[in-house]
Amino acid sequence: MNEPASTSAPPLLEVRDLAVRFPVGRTAGLIGGPAAEVRAVDGVSVSLARGETLGLVGESGCGKSTTGRAVLQLVRPSAGSVRFQGEPIHEWWVRRGGRWQWDHRLRNLRRRMQMIFQDPYASLNPRMTVEAILGEPLRNFRIAPGGRQRQRVQRLMETVGLDPRFIRRYPHEFSGGQRQRIGIARAIALEPELIVADEPVSALDVSIQAQILNLLARLRADLGLTMLFIAHDLAAVRHISDRIAVMYLGRIVELAAAREITAAPLHPYTKALISAVPLPDPAGERSRRRIVLSGDLPSPMNPPPGCPFHTRCPLREDRCIREEPQLRDVAPGHQVACHLA
């Protein structure tokens, strides 16, 4: 688990041309024409080196959460590949009784990849004590059997900053921030290598967000975690990520080092997104030139032709309406999908 990261080592996670499409509504007409579908994720390619944190940022409906779920095979990718340490885990599904299910390999892989959810109220079973919640993954994978399990749970609680004396308590007896600590403890209980954190702080108060961000940063260092950090809050994403991928309508439109993407964004959408983030600095806010985008996000059921951003782009040219720009290298480690960048 603590192999040194090197440039020649294969990435821990490699995603290629990932697509997730959801059918919408019933098949149109009696004859059964093609049903509509939402292209939630539409050709995402990204890789994570061991120990790296990649931030995935974008607005609601851009496909960032679905990307995270498809990486963990919580939804089955419609196309493309997801390789975990070189293994094609997107193939580890079997069709039983007309439904797709994980095969045994994917189930075992849960030990090595875990998720932290946004809503610490909805993601913990209200009828289970902390001991049961944190003990469940240990039982499922027969780790620390017998009396050692309680000890293990108590140690986990200490690791995430919860008082181990509260082991018998139920989720409703904890605050939002403490519940998120329980969710984090559950995710790290099996000592995974990869964590997908989907909006882990956005449901929390400002003063508590910092506590959780600091906790995640410390755990990442202590446990050598590789992390996919998904959030709409660019400041939080930038704080914790080594690199950031900006998504728009199911696609990555820009990918670069965290520092670079905020200091020198190239895609007009990234620029608008950064300029829209309010800064806690009145003088700075007054002098800032804000790019206010017109209009709303187009529907992912009916994405525009050409560049997905062209309907709101202040720099649009004819070419952008006709031709979809591909994600390409513009500088070492900096990729952008824009004809004009």
């Binding site: 607005e59 609601s60 605050s175 921030g177 403490q178 108060d205 400002v206 003063s207 508590i208 967000q209 910092a210 506590q211 961000l213 600091n214 940063a217 709409h232 809050d233 660019l234 400041a235 939080a236 930038r238 704080h239 914790i240 990520s241 965290a258 520092r259 905020t262 608008a272 997104l273 950064i274 300029s275 829209a276 983030v277 309010p278 800064l279 806690p280 600095d281 009145p282 003088a283 700075g284 806010e285 007054r286 804000r290 206010v292 985008l293 017109s294 709303d296 996000l297």
Partner: protein, 328 residues
Amino acid sequence: MANPDVVLEIRDLRTFFRTDDHLVKAVDGLSFSVRRGETLGIVGESGSGKSVACLSALRLLPTPPAFHPSGVIRYGGDDLLRIPERAIERLRGDRLAMIFQDPMTSLNPYLTVARQLTEVLEVHKRASPSAARQGAVAMLERVGIPDAARRIDQYPHQFSGGMRQRVMIAMALLCEPDVLFADEPTTALDVTIQAQILELIAELREALGMAVVLVTHDLGVVAGTTDRVAVMYAGRIVEEGGTDEVFARPLHPYTRGLLASMPRIDTPPGTVLEAIPGLPPDLGHPPGGCPFHPRCPQATDRCRRDRPPAVAVSPTHRAACFEVEVAG
């Protein structure tokens, strides 16, 4: 009221809720005023009492369980806490308006936008149906709804989140109110849409000369859009001042803590955030003395014992902290 520009003044407001086993002091001695054309930001975390303060000002809380052991809400020579129900109903939606985080809480999903907007003008301005419709379309255009004359006949669900927020703003502003209470108006929106809505509120405030009370948890939003800011904690204002002053020289340890705990896009990534330790207080069992003392790095025995009064460090900037008294 000393200052003729002050349109609304709240003095020593307390809003308590009686629950089965205890008393929740949601707002506990709140005073502030707003002037014509000004935006006052009220910033605080969940449970700080910022929303309850606004709902109290418009008398939108059911009593019981809510009640007001003290307080005066001065508007146009009246005390809003003491005028008859009929009188406050006449003011609500006309002179005093409110918009919420979730537009679906104030828009009826069963009625067309036209029906909901024209009703406001028919009730408050006794407008004829055709004049009301004309006024409603004009206001929808003003808040930036394209094709307003057609879209007014649609239902709320046919609008996107940002457009729905615009519809709610249009409804609140139909009668050109004196005071607009905006409770987390952009929290549910994406940042690019948030920027549009904040800009719209600022434009309309200027055009109509109304006062805006902007309730938010986001210090970035406060910095960009307000003239003055009041920081609330445990039902009280712990610091109040000109927005520039408060950000340049935050006095209260809570304000300083909030600023230091925010990740920012203009600081080096990976900076360790100075989180505020502990949790906001349970208002059913608030700590004695200064409500912030259990989380305060500078707390002394006196803070545990006594409640600090607000101390002014300039004519416009005050904070409720014993440290400030010492320094000032």
